[in-house]
């Protein structure tokens, strides 16, 4: 079955790369530009996996993960954190808030798809 992935990232470049990589892998891609936008998109969608950035305007990745995990409808969706931060405390914070896993930028499309497949049902 075609997997639907929601990507949340404020960088147009990264969004386009994610779209290219995921579409290539036969996945259905939804996109949002920040946490607030991400929640809006989730309002009408049920993706299989969410890939989110950390540093974003309006609502950052931490806030977004917290909000998704706190919602009844979406809390079971795996969330991968896509981040340039390899610093452990950031990763740790994301994990404590409920991130399912993480991918470090710059991402390798194959590894990204693997990670998504790993957490997707």
């Amino acid at each position: 079955m075609t997997k639907t992935v929601l990507t949340v990232d404020d960088s147009r470049t990264i969004r386009e790369m994610l779209r290219a990589a995921l579409t290539e892998a036969g996945m259905n891609v939804l996109q949002a530009e920040d946490g607030v936008h991400g929640l809006e998109v989730l309002d009408g969608a049920m993706p299989d996996v969410i890939v989110t950035d950390i540093n974003m305007p309006r609502m950052d990745g931490f806030g977004f993960i917290e909000a998704v995990r706190g919602s009844n409808k979406h809390r079971a969706i795996p969330i991968l954190v896509l981040t340039t931060e390899s610093v452990d405390d950031k990763k740790d914070r994301a994990r404590r808030l409920g991130a399912t896993g993480w991918i470090v930028k710059p991402f390798d499309p194959a590894k990204l798809v693997n990670a998504i497949n790993r957490v997707a049902a």
Partner: protein
């Protein structure tokens, strides 16, 4: 990938603008927490994208910059004046690195490493600051080894992914791993799932999975969000232990997991069922299609699943993905140019139709004529809308100027503040692009020549810091850009002296103040003695003037001794069309740009006076204005026409002086499409461009300023 790279560079430009705006706001203390966050994000974003494209230099510098910004963001270091200056210079370097990554070229390594070092030093004082992470793009995060959960002092073991994924290394010998895996409730709360991990393990080789259900309580005591199952897996595979551990990368803290390797003795090893400790029932064996969990447990889970709170994504139903409405689109500029060209043709065609209708003697109120009026209205609206597509705020170029001010001020040792106004003023993209060089030159001039040295300013009773002001505003269909400084003003005696020395004017000529000021624009005025390292570069204000004129613009100067100098640019909003007055001169049809025209009149006998041998002036409202016969000037006739049989078009040239252009008659007012004469033929005196009229004939568009100036000399 190339398209995405283009997006990246576009985005970089935006991020750099954001960065600069933010830093300037911080400098002027008009910032809040969001500003520093935005600044941080801008650099962070550039770093992220640069990493994706393997732009190592850019990543390295952005990373160092980001580290410093992160300390500012978290309040560990305070952005004092010195640090802000350093950050602004860093943003300049970052902009250079972006440009070089895009266009190629050489970067001044010394400058980069100097700023790099300063940034690193700036990040030092905060002793509490976390050690800067490894610079350059991390190929992939070091993988922390799986440790006993709950152990907060775990030591990450660095394992390179390249090693994991084989590369050229020989495949490890097949061996057996015993994996014991006990998830905690947190694992499920994070949307991880034991079944997915087991699936991964099975993908690594021959797996024998045993589930321990001894912990499963009675249904009444079962917490639907609890974790009661654990597994023991015997995996026969030729992967490394690290690869097995990698499966648990995301869940290392949310489960108890151990991986032990048994060296394989017998190549035809057969699995021995795992001694399932504390197993209440016989451990079910996971086969390709077989159940992972005993049916009794499944039944329990099914019941639990019935509770709405535990609704799985699948159960909640697959909602149709919604498409987010897009507010902007990005279009290739070529397409817009093509559209503008087509609209230009439409305008020509419409005026041709209009002319034919008139020629055919159709009544003005006939349906055809009325329909044509509507068409004209529509054409104009289409044109305006198409022009609006290309319109862009002048902000980016204004922002670039703040950098110029900084650089020049540093170089000449002056303290300068750039004040900008009207950055949102919109102008055609082409006009903006072609403004960059003239503006840079004027700004350099303002800082280098316009402003006095700090000590002289103090002596003159002014604040030490000079102010350069740059404003943009729309005025009657044109954009007016002013560059002013609060310096000493033009030293007219000195200007005159230089002009005489350069042979620009004859010694002893009497000139008004504004005429002296205008000497600055004279070709040959700017030479060695006024050229400094900074503003000189062998280019004079005459070049600036020419490039502004090439844009269909005018430049003028005004100066007050001791108070400063102001350059005023008046520019068309677009380069594609202009409103013109179509006139006839010696049987030719010409177009006079409407923006230059003040009024038109029919000279009467008593108003026209001769002056000297040839020159004529016309008396209007108490002043005398020179009369210029356009036909004679352009060489259409050898004798000047009689002013009394001509129409005088009063025009205002760049220094606001008025002149009257004599033409034979006025046909009407019309919007014309500008076709560059220079591109298609070459530069001709007195001709700004050409256009195609409704009847298909080519008409030249007058360069009013050139004709007026030509009359003076």
């Amino acid at each position: 990938m190339a398209a995405i790279k283009q997006t990246f560079f576009q985005e970089c430009e935006e991020q750099l603008a954001e960065l600069e705006t933010g830093l300037l706001a911080i400098e002027s203390e008009e910032h809040d927490a969001d500003t520093i966050n935005a600044v941080f994000r801008a650099v962070h974003s550039i770093k992220g994208g640069a990493g994706a494209f393997g732009l190592e230099d850019l990543v390295r510098f952005a990373h160092t910059f980001e580290t410093t910004l992160d300390l500012v963001r978290s309040g560990q270091i305070q952005p004092d004046a010195g640090l802000i200056k350093l950050m602004l210079r860093s943003s300049d370097i970052l902009a250079d690195l972006v440009r070089i990554s895009r266009d190629g070229g050489e970067m001044d390594e010394g400058r980069v490493s100097q700023i790099h070092d300063e940034l690193t030093r700036a990040a030092q004082p905060g002793a509490a600051a976390p050690a800067a992470p490894a610079p350059a793009a991390p190929a992939f995060a070091p993988l922390p080894a799986v440790e006993a959960a709950g152990d907060d002092d775990f030591v990450p073991i660095t394992i390179s992914f390249d090693d994991l994924l084989g590369g050229g290394d020989p495949a490890p010998e097949e061996q057996v791993f015993v994996v014991s895996f006990r998830p905690k409730p947190e694992l499920y709360a994070k949307a991880n799932d034991a079944i997915k991990l087991l699936r991964e393990i099975r993908a690594l080789g021959d797996a024998d999975v045993a589930c321990d259900i001894s912990e499963v309580p009675l249904l009444t005591e079962l917490d639907p969000e609890g974790a009661y199952l654990s597994w023991t897996i015997r995996l026969g595979s030729n992967v490394t232990e690290a690869q097995v551990r990698e499966v648990f990368e995301f869940v290392e803290f949310d489960c108890d997991v151990s991986v032990t390797a048994e060296p394989r003795v017998d190549p035809n090893f057969e699995f021995v069922p795992a001694p399932a400790a504390e197993t209440r029932d016989a451990a079910p064996v996971l086969t390709e299609e077989g159940p992972l969990i005993p049916e009794s447990v499944l039944a329990k889970i099914a019941q639990v699943n019935a509770e709405p709170a535990k609704a799985s994504p699948a159960a909640a139903g697959q909602a149709q993905p919604t498409q987010q409405a897009q507010t902007t689109i990005r279009v290739d500029l070529d397409r817009v140019d093509r559209l503008i060209d087509l609209v230009g043709e439409l305008v020509i065609n419409q005026s041709m139709l209009s002319q034919r209708v008139t020629e055919a003697g159709i009544a003005r109120l006939s349906e055809v004529a009325v329909g044509l009026d509507d068409l004209e209205q529509l054409t104009r609206e289409i044109q305006d809308s198409v022009m609006a597509i290309r319109a862009q705020p002048v902000r980016p170029i204004f922002q670039r100027m703040s950098r110029v001010v900084r650089e020049v001020a540093d170089m000449v040792g002056k303290s300068v503040r750039l004040v900008t106004e009207g950055e949102n003023c919109e102008v055609d993209k082409t006009v903006i692009e072609r403004l960059a060089d003239p503006l840079t030159h004027m700004i350099r001039n303002a800082v280098d020549h316009g402003l006095e040295k700090p000590e002289d300013r103090v002596k003159a009773g002014k604040p030490e810091q000079g102010v350069v002001r740059m404003t943009a505003a729309h005025r009657s269909g044109r954009v007016i850009i002013e560059v002013s400084d609060d310096g000493a003003g033009i030293n007219r005696a000195r200007v005159k002296e230089i002009a005489v020395k350069r042979g620009v004017i004859e010694p002893g000529v009497q000139l008004s103040d504004s005429e002296i000021d205008d000497l600055i624009f004279a070709p040959g005025f700017s030479t060695a003695s006024t050229v400094s390292d900074v503003s000189g570069r062998g280019v004079g204000m005459d070049v600036v003037k020419r490039s502004i004129q090439a844009l269909g613009g005018r430049i003028s100067i005004s100066s007050k001794p001791g108070l400063g100098t102001t350059f005023t640019l008046s520019l068309p909003l677009t380069l594609a069309v202009l409103d013109g007055m179509v006139v006839t001169v010696a049987g030719q049809t010409l177009v006079v740009p409407l923006t230059a025209i003040v009024e038109t009149l029919q000279p009467k006998g008593p108003e026209v006076h001769g002056l000297g041998e040839r020159a004529k002036v016309i008396a209007i409202r108490g002043t005398f204005i020179p009369l210029i016969d356009v036909g004679y000037k352009l060489g259409y006739r050898y004798e000047e026409a009689d002013p009394l049989n001509s129409v005088a078009i009063m025009v205002e040239s760049e220094n606001r002086a008025q002149s009257a252009l004599m033409v034979d008659g006025i046909i009407g007012q019309q919007q014309v499409v500008i076709k560059s004469l220079e591109t298609n033929y070459g530069q001709v005196f007195g001709v700004a461009a050409a256009t195609i009229l409704g009847d298909g004939r080519v008409a030249v568009i007058l360069d009013v300023d050139a004709i007026v100036a030509g009359n003076r000399s």
